[in-house]
Each structure stands twice: as C-alpha cells, then as structure tokens.
C-alpha cells in the first residue's frame, strides 16, 4: 500500500442533466492509492456511479481536475452490467489487450493469468454469451485485471449475484487487489461488501462526500447522521449534554426521565445526536454489562433465522437491537413485553446536532 495517490481529483463539480432536473456532484478531494481499495458507499442516487464515471474520464467535470499520477498502467472501469463480446471467454480478455501491442505469447500469458486469477480458466473456450451472471462478472474483472491497470474502477461488481457468489467473488477480488499494486475504487450500496473489500470508505450522500476515512474510523465514528445510518448505526436519538450532579460524569439528556451515559470531554449544553449500533443496545443484562438507561416496550420482532431484530419503544423513540435468533431472550420475548435497557458509555457515539 502506498501513500502516493495513483489518481487524484480536486475541486470537482459535475452536472448531470436529465429532462427536468440537474444533479450536482461536488467532491473537494479524493485520492486513489496504489495497492489500496476505496469503497464508495451511499444510497441510490447519491452520485456514486457519476463519481466513478468522472474518475474514468467518461463524464467531463464543469470544473476541477483529475490527475493520473501513476503511469504504471491505464485507468479502466468495470461497469454494473458488464458486456460479453462476441466470441470465446479467452477472446474477450484478449480483445482488451489490443491497445497494449503485446506479442502473441505475452498476450496469451496475460489472458491465462487473468482467467486463472478469477477461477474461469476452464471456461476459456466457451462462448462468452453463454456465461451465467456470476461468470460474466468474473470475466469482466479478468478482462480488467489483464490490462494490469494502475487504477481500477468497479461499479457495483456484485449486483444481482446470490450471497454465495458474492462471497466467493469478494474473496477473489480482495486477493487480486492485494497481489497487484492497483488502486481500486469500488462503488457499492452494500456495507458488508464495502467492509470486506476496502481499506478506506468514502460516503457519498446527495452528491457530496460526507466522510472519507479508514473503514474502522467510519464505522466507529461516523461524521454525520446520514453516514451513521449508512454504516448501520440505526439508533439515532437527539439530546443535550449535561452533567450528572452525583458524580459529574457526562450524560445526554433525552427528556426529563431519560438519560444516556457517555464518555469523553463534552461541553455541557451541546446539542447532539446519540448514535448507537443495534448490537450495542443491551436488553435485560446483568450488572457490569452496561449502565441501565431505563425500561422499554418491545414493539416488534423479526428474525432471519440467524439474528432476531427487535424494535423497542424507549423515550418516544423506536430503538433497534439484535439478538441471536432461537436463543435466550430471542425465544421468549414478545411484543408488549417490558425490558430493561442498558448501554456501555464507550459504545455511545456522539454527533453534533445543528439548530433547526
């Protein structure tokens, strides 16, 4: 991994006009570094694909600059719906090498290596048009990696794949990124994929980069409520910092009867959002496993067989927590039950709340 960017974009403004609206993408600064993957995360319509296409040179920014700093290879992109060109799988990869002016032997070596890397060497002579969705994605990635690019831009590379195919392709892709010195940007709306693949995460909301940082920092310390929601911090409660009279520890006052303990040096009176991941909201736990924050009422339970997602009313807010399905409380809880809630102050994340 290198700190030197392979591709750097500064002060970008991109306008996309449709019949009635103009979408505006503004990016102050974004770098793609060699040997590193940056996940671009965001809801639908946030401008993720527009950003990728701009970095690929397919959209022209109104102003700003994009500079390819690494000349070790080209900038290439794999689209959300990759095409299969007429001919065999091997031919599809070979075609991508036409611009490199390689000897026949070198080209064959590139093709074989790329197909092997993505586990489709056995399909080399098969017609590309007959590939399954997963195989076609692998072909598109093999085609891109065969170019030995300096920068690789991936637009939703796992779209429409089943979970098993997504997992297996993620692993192959992660390995390919680690084995090569390519700088990767991968657009996804799937947090789990973003975490699996990336070293850093950029969160895009409404055409703006809300946060760009190492993945652990984005997950633990989202910068805005929108980022918090996107990274799974679904419990967001508005409150105000106060001091407990008894021990002078900071708390967030939600209302007269509800407080949440927090840590750190926070100024009293500050308006904040309390961010709490579902797995950090404890239900009916013993002492020592969290600070009690009062009672809540179970509103709703839903399970996918592995995890039970429980919605609890507390202080007029709907909080969510996760329990292991089929075990302990998850087996006995029912809507209407009263439960004791607790949190650990160090699990609580505070976000500044602007005045409305």
């Amino acid at each position: 991994m290198s700190d030197v960017p392979a591709l750097a974009a500064r002060h970008l403004l991109v306008l996309r006009r449709s019949r009635r609206t103009v979408f505006e993408l503004r990016v102050e600064e974004i770098d793609l570094r060699s040997g590193e993957a940056l996940a671009v995360l965001g809801p639908n319509g946030a401008g993720k694909s527009t950003l990728l296409r701009t970095l690929a040179g397919l959209e022209r920014p109104v102003h700003g600059q994009i500079e390819q700093k690494s000349v070790a290879g080209p900038v290439t992109m794999v689209f959300q719906r990759p095409i299969a060109l007429a001919g065999s799988v091997a031919h599809n990869v070979q075609v991508a090498l036409l611009g490199l002016h390689l000897s026949r032997r070198e080209a064959r070596k590139h093709v074989e290596e790329a197909l092997r890397r993505f586990g489709i060497a056995r399909l080399a002579e098969q017609r590309a048009a007959t590939l399954s969705g997963g195989e076609l994605r692998r072909l598109a990635l093999a085609r891109a990696f065969a170019l030995h690019p300096a920068v690789l831009l991936l637009d939703e590379p796992f779209d429409d794949l089943d979970a098993a195919a997504q997992d297996s392709l993620s692993l192959d892709l992660r390995r390919a990124i680690e084995d090569t010195d390519v700088a990767v940007a991968v657009v996804t709306h799937d947090l789990r994929r973003a975490l699996l693949l990336s070293d850093r995460i950029a969160v895009l909301v409404d055409g703006r980069v809300e946060q760009i940082d190492h993945r652990e920092r984005v997950i633990a310390h989202p910068a805005t409520p929108a980022v918090a929601r996107l990274v799974g911090m679904s419990n967001l409660i508005p409150g105000e910092i106060a001091r407990e009279a008894s021990d002078d520890l900071p708390v967030v006052t939600i209302d007269r009867d509800h407080r949440i303990p927090v840590t750190g040096d926070v100024p009293p009176g500050a308006r904040v959002w309390v961010g709490l991941r579902p797995e950090h909201l404890k239900v009916d736990v013993g002492r020592g496993q969290g600070t009690p924050i009062g009672q809540g009422t179970v509103r709703h339970l839903v399970s996918d067989g592995l995890v039970s997602m429980v919605t609890i009313d507390w202080a007029g807010f709907e909080l969510r927590t996760h329990l292991i399905a089929g075990r302990g409380l998850a087996r006995t809880l029912a809507p209407g039950d009263q439960v004791k809630l607790a949190v650990r102050p160090e699990d609580v994340h505070l976000l500044p709340r602007r005045k409305d």
Binding site: A56, L85, A86, A96, G99, L147
Partner: protein, 218 residues
C-alpha cells in the same frame, strides 16, 4: 431456347449483377456509417431522421424511379450529367431504394446493443479502428439481414430501373425489365428462362449471405 437466347440471358444476368452489386456496395458505404451514428448517438432531430429512414424502407420503387428521373431528365437539376438511360442512373435509383434498408436495419442492430457498450469498450483502452471492428462483429447478424433485404429489394425491383434505364438492349436491360418486356411481347419461353435465372440468383445470393451470417454465430 437457342444459343443466341442463352447468350442474351447470360449478358443480361451479368449486367443485372453489375448494377445490383454496384448499388449495394454504394448503399453499404453510405448507409453503414449513418446507421451506426443514428444507432449510437443522441442528438436533436434524431427521431425525425429515424422516421424518414423508416418511411424510406417502404417507399414504392416506382416513385423513387420517378424522382430520380426528374433529377436526371435533360432539363432536370442533374440533366447535364447525361446519366439518364444509363447503368449509372439505374445504380442511383437502386441506391436510393437500398439505402433506407441498410440504414434502418443497421441502426436497429446497433440499437440492440447495451446502452453503454461504447463506453465499456472505450474504458478497455481499445484503439478506435479495433473498436469499429468489434462493433461490426457484434452486429453482424443484423448487418447481414440488412444486406439480404437490400439485395432482395434491388434485384427484384422493376419500376425504377425501367424508368431511369429505359430497358435499352445491350445497355440497360436487366433481368426484371427483360422479363416484363418479353411477357408483354408474348415471348413466354424467354420470360420464363429469365425468371428462372432471377429466382435462382435470389436463392443463391440470399443462401450465401445467410450461410455467412449463420456461420458467424458461434
């Protein structure tokens, strides 16, 4: 049928092929780039152009012949070229008939590709001429369908070539105009012979193009 009759049929057949293939080559040279551009580019007035092309695909050949005749007539805008009643005039009329078919079917074939096909190929860094080759390869089924339709249209067409060619013996007489003339003169044996050659040619050429088209399907 005597030897002279057979020799006449051969000469007429050769002239028919010469006129038809010249017209097809010109129509392909002009229509292919236009069809590709109309299929891939988005611009103001594209819809109008496509409507004109689609209307042209069904234009009556006799009307096309009339328009070309008006252009090439001695006192017409292109009368000075002296092309009227020559093979050149017949080629022009047949190009006008074949052009909408080539453009229309090419643009339909190109339009069936993915919206971002060009972008995807471009991001692979493939040089422009190779990209064009890949595009033609990708739409080859549609292209051969266009060739077959255009060739069928001009080979069997009689109204336009009669009007601008004049069916002059040894100069502008082709299979269709010869069949018409011999039928009108009651020389059914000769007309039947010519019709058999025309049908045979149609089957042979369409079969050949179809074989190439389907052979390319891996």
């Amino acid at each position: 049928m005597d030897d002279a009759g057979l020799a006449a049929i051969l000469r007429i057949t050769a002239r028919t092929l010469e006129v038809c293939f010249s017209a097809l080559a010109l129509a392909v040279a002009l229509g292919l780039p236009v069809g590709i551009a109309l299929g891939r580019r988005r611009f103001t007035g594209r819809g109008v152009l496509i409507s004109i092309v689609n209307s042209g695909m069904g234009a009556p050949p006799v009307v096309v012949g009339l328009l070309v005749a008006l252009l090439l007539w001695r006192h017409g805008p292109l009368g000075g070229t002296g092309l009227m009643y020559t093979k050149g005039a017949m080629v022009i009329a047949q190009v006008v008939i074949a052009l909408p078919l080539i453009i229309g079917l090419t643009l339909a074939a190109v339009g069936s590709l993915d919206e971002d096909w060009d972008l995807q190929v471009r991001t692979l860094g493939i040089p422009p001429l190779w990209r064009l080759w890949l595009l033609l390869r990708e739409i080859r089924l549609g292209l051969f369908a266009a060739f077959i339709a255009a060739l069928g249209g001009i080979l069997s067409e009689v109204g336009a070539v009669m009007m601008v060619g004049g069916n002059l013996e040894g100069e502008t007489r082709v299979l269709t105009t010869a069949i018409l003339m011999h039928t009108q003169m009651g020389q059914f044996e000769m007309a039947m012979g010519l019709a058999a050659v025309l049908l045979g040619l149609m089957l042979l050429l369409a079969g050949l193009l179809t074989a190439i088209q389907q052979g390319g399907r891996e």
